[in-house]
């Protein structure tokens, strides 16, 4: 039922041709045996539950025989009411295959570690209920990003784009010894934009970003919005920020497909924010005043 490294002919061939020393091969064989035992135990455990959930999980490891070519593994994990995709992945890892690799930390949709491609959509695994999905639940790494291993993608490019928009508060005008004033209305205006958790779901869903590596992308533009619209920075800084985002690979690349808005786990109106930046940029360039 729960398969891991299927005992296929191609694999035995691979082993036969493998240049690895004999004891290495023996170890692998023993490991497979032990894994089979563990799986049998886990299946017995699973049988105690009313039902199991069927996961199809993307696997890849550049340095492990049998995983160098990407493949999908099937896992059948015991289902409990209220279970999330992250819970299911952790079960699969802890019960069946400890080499199953994915990022996760807080379990409550704030750290942004576990954005993945679940049943064809970018989602945070920890806040996605299994009961809302059709089976088998297909879990893949975020598209358009290089896969490091299994479900882990390289986030470097995402971070680079985020950090290219000067993502930090800048002002030359600070009151001594007390806070700056900010109206409730203004905080409300930037509130949604400040909720970004850098999970990368939006960037991964964006067709433009997929075809244009230099495009700043929805997350970085939203970060720019967060500061450009914050009244505490002042008008000069706002002009500076608009110059950053109206560059060739900035806001004008956005074609308002709304895919970023659709997948954002924090419900940030990303497309709307980008359009607002476009309007500000136009006003800025026309200079009627």
């Amino acid at each position: 039922m729960s398969t891991q490294i299927p005992e296929t002919e191609s694999e035995s061939e691979e082993l036969a041709q493998s240049t690895e020393p004999e004891h290495q091969q023996r170890r692998m064989a023993e490991k497979r045996e032990r894994r089979a035992e563990r799986e049998a135990e886990a299946e017995a455990d699973a049988a105690a539950y009313d039902e199991t959930i069927h996961l199809k999980v993307f696997r890849y490891d550049p340095e492990v025989e049998g995983k160098k070519e990407p493949r999908f593994d099937d896992f059948h994990v015991p289902f409990k009411q209220g279970m999330t995709v992250l819970d299911a992945l952790m079960q699969a890892r802890d019960l069946f295959d400890s080499s199953l690799t994915f990022r996760h930390s807080c379990r409550q949709a704030i750290c942004g570690s576990d954005a993945m491609f679940v049943n064809g959509k970018q989602r945070l695994c920890c806040k996605t209920q299994i009961s809302d999905l059709s089976e088998p639940v297909r879990v893949e790494p975020l598209p358009h990003q290089e896969v490091v291993k299994d479900l882990v993608v390289d986030m470097e490019h995402f971070y680079d784009q985020m950090e290219s928009v000067e993502p930090y508060f800048q002002t030359n005008d600070l009151p001594a010894g007390e806070e700056q004033r900010q109206t409730r209305e203004n905080r409300e205006k930037v509130k949604m934009s400040t909720r970004c958790i850098w999970c990368g779901a939006c960037m991964s869903s964006c067709n433009i970003a997929a075809g244009d590596n230099e495009y700043l992308g929805p997350a970085a533009l939203n970060k720019a919005y967060r500061f450009a619209m914050d009244e505490r920075e002042g008008e000069d800084m706002k002009q500076h920020r608009l110059q950053i985002i109206e560059q060739e690979h900035g806001v004008w690349r956005c074609q308002t497909q709304f895919s970023c808005t659709n997948v954002c786990p924090k419900d940030i109106p990303l497309t709307e924010h980008i359009q607002e930046l476009k309007r500000e940029a136009v006003k800025n360039n026309l200079k009627f005043w």
């Binding site: 550049p62 802890d94 986030m155």
Partner: protein, 609 residues
């Protein structure tokens, strides 16, 4: 080998603040962190940051509330430093752009919180930690501070002197998670540990999966005593199925706790006749569990937290994040129904023993944040006091490590601070089973810098090699789950002598099982199996210090409740518990609590809310 002036281990609130402070003093700083900084669990803090900012409030009042909350086990110099500095640090955060919630006049808003005599908790919705974390990381980006992202520090590089107080920390050893490479990091001035809480030692916790007590365990094995580890905070309002935190802000804004009979339990049964739901956290957690134990819990497990009467507008304005959490993780609409809540492990009051400057007894080794114990929180932390601790003590540790003179510390550290020996009365042996190469410090009598680091790298490589080449054995997950269950069963809100002894037996069993642990994943690439296996070792060490301290402390103080000892014994127990590793043979001893502040001495009083 990498080389920097100051190396910060961990990039949550305390680590980021320490890095910025050290950088501002002109040091070359690097952060080494197993998670990208914005993934840190500081981001999950919800409630707020206590700071005496307004007319009618004072740092003295904040300090008194904190001392009372600590059940007179906090050290006055640490508490007073926190309360004096917190306002400036909050203003600093605002100047760095943190989007605090605002009053009508545009000033930073403050709300009431548990155990506070004044509404002094500044906040940013119900997601204060998220904004603090991101604001701090923005400052690190702005300054171009080096971040080794997804590097797991697994060992400290410390000289091999007999007396921990003669030792020096010269750097750390870290595993590049992405490639599996093990490398040494040399710190010319100091290493600051800021690795967060040990919540994963428990089964039902608000803490992230990454909160595995790495810092305390490494410091402990290097010879730094762990202080007051028995004091674990159980937050009164966590979601029953997952342990996800429901902020104290809900009660701060006026939320009410009801039992299964619909009674307002805090008043109905006299748990807190003045402050009700806004009593201190330990009081509220015990009240809820007492209700459940006496048959007035809902489904024999939890109570209800109701905020509907606050009105949709106020809830959405100030507590919106709570609505999302209740809906996503418990399927409850907080606007329509009360939320199910029960106590869950939340915070460690204890940790790595430090003084007010963040220094441990080992030269060049600092700690700040939840992993450290100054001690600000004593036997019980007040809500809203963790975030100011991160920024106040993160900044102090950073400055001191970078060479700034912060004046003489009043708090004594290390074995020389001992005032009396303790007796654990453990039914099983404690400490190392038999792992000669697991000693962090004792790496072959090394004292010169380069050798200390290369020896530590060698030792780490040997450990990894051993775990990876082992053909069979136990998986860490099995050991970890058993440990978590044992801790939640017997080292919880209510503690008994038999239960604590059983927990020590279970921990011993985990330790012995760990001798047989192996890493099944053969890959060097992003091997989380390996990382989690090393973390599990840290959890075992930390769990043992928590339980041993709890068994030795035969009184009821703050969060530490003992069935057989139902009173606070001030004559005997106003003292800090210290546990030292001593190369694998743990020793428990005590040192005095400092109740003398700058201008007054804090007199222990009966704590009522």
């Amino acid at each position: 080998m990498h080389e920097h002036d100051v190396i910060v281990v961990g990039a949550g609130g305390a680590g980021l603040r320490a890095a910025v402070a050290a950088h501002e003093e002109g040091a070359d700083v690097a952060m080494v962190t197993k998670l990208h900084p914005v993934r840190s669990h500081t981001g999950a803090a919800e409630g707020g940051i206590n700071a005496a900012l307004r007319e009618g409030d004072s740092w003295e009042s904040h300090a008194y509330d904190t001392m009372k909350g600590s059940d007179f086990l906090g050290d006055a110099p640490a508490i007073e430093t926190l309360c004096q500095t917190s306002p400036d640090e909050v203003i600093q955060l605002e100047h760095w752009g943190m989007p605090f919630s605002r009053e009508e006049d545009g000033r930073v808003s403050q709300r009431p919180f548990g155990g506070l005599s004044f509404p002094r908790t500044t906040y940013a919705g119900a997601e204060t930690g998220h904004h603090l974390l991101h604001t701090m990381y923005e400052q690190v980006v702005k300054r171009g501070i080096t971040v080794y992202d997804e590097w797991y520090v697994s060992r400290l590089a410390v000289t091999d002197h007999d007396d921990p107080e003669d030792r020096t920390c010269h750097g750390v050893v870290a595993i590049d998670i992405q490639s599996g490479r093990v490398e040494g990091f040399k710190a010319n001035n100091g290493v600051i540990i800021a690795t967060g809480g040990p919540g994963q030692a428990f089964d039902h916790t608000t803490n992230a999966v990454s909160c595995t007590g790495d810092g305390p365990a490494m410091a402990y094995r290097a010879g730094v005593p762990l202080e007051d580890m028995e004091f674990i905070q159980f937050h009164p309002t966590t979601l029953p199925s997952t342990g996800v935190l429901i902020s104290e802000g809900v009660r701060g804004e006026g939320g009410i706790l009801y039992n299964a009979n619909g009674e307002r339990l805090m008043f109905e049964y006299g748990y807190a006749n003045n402050d009700g739901e806004l009593a201190s956290r330990d009081v509220v957690a015990r009240a809820e569990l007492t209700e459940v134990n006496e048959g007035r819990g809902i489904e024999d497990e939890y109570v209800h937290l109701d905020m509907r009467h606050l009105g949709d507008e106020r809830i959405i304005d100030r507590l919106e994040n709570i609505l999302h959490l209740a809906a996503d993780f418990e399927g409850v609409d907080g606007l329509e129904r009360p939320m199910p809540v029960k106590p869950g492990q939340h915070y460690a009051m204890g940790g790595i023993e430090t003084d007010e400057n963040g220094q441990t007894c080992i030269s060049g080794l600092y700690a700040a944040g939840e992993c450290a114990c100054v001690s600000v929180h004593g036997a019980n932390r007040l809500g809203g006091n963790a975030l100011p601790e991160l920024i106040v003590y993160g900044a102090r540790a950073g400055r001191h490590a970078a060479g700034k003179d912060l004046g003489e510390a009043q708090i004594q550290t290390g074995p020389s601070a001992k005032s009396e020996d303790g007796d654990i009365g453990s039914p099983v042996p404690l400490g190392a089973v038999d792992t000669p190469d697991e000693d962090v410090a004792a790496d072959g009598a090394a004292v010169d810098v380069e050798t200390v680091i290369s020896k530590a790298v060698e030792a780490e490589n040997a450990r990894i090699e051993r775990l990876m080449t082992k053909d069979e054995g136990l998986q860490h997950a099995e050991i970890r789950h058993k440990l978590q269950k044992a801790m939640t069963r017997n080292v919880n809100v209510f503690r008994t002598e038999d239960g604590l002894k059983q927990a020590l037996r279970d921990i011993r069993e985990a330790r012995e099982a760990y001798e047989d642990v192996y890493v099944a994943d053969p890959s060097r690439t992003f091997n989380t199996d390996l990382i989690h296996t090393i973390e599990t070792q840290n959890l075992i060490d930390v769990a043992e210090t928590i339980t041993a301290g709890a068994l030795a402390r035969t009184e009821f103080r703050g969060a530490h409740w003992r069935a057989e000892h139902q009173e606070r014994k001030d004559d005997e127990w106003i003292k800090h518990t210290l546990m030292a590793w001593n190369d694998g043979s743990p020793e428990l001893y005590y040192k005095p609590v400092i109740l003398e502040g700058e201008e007054k001495t804090y007199e222990p009083k009966v704590r009522s809310y």
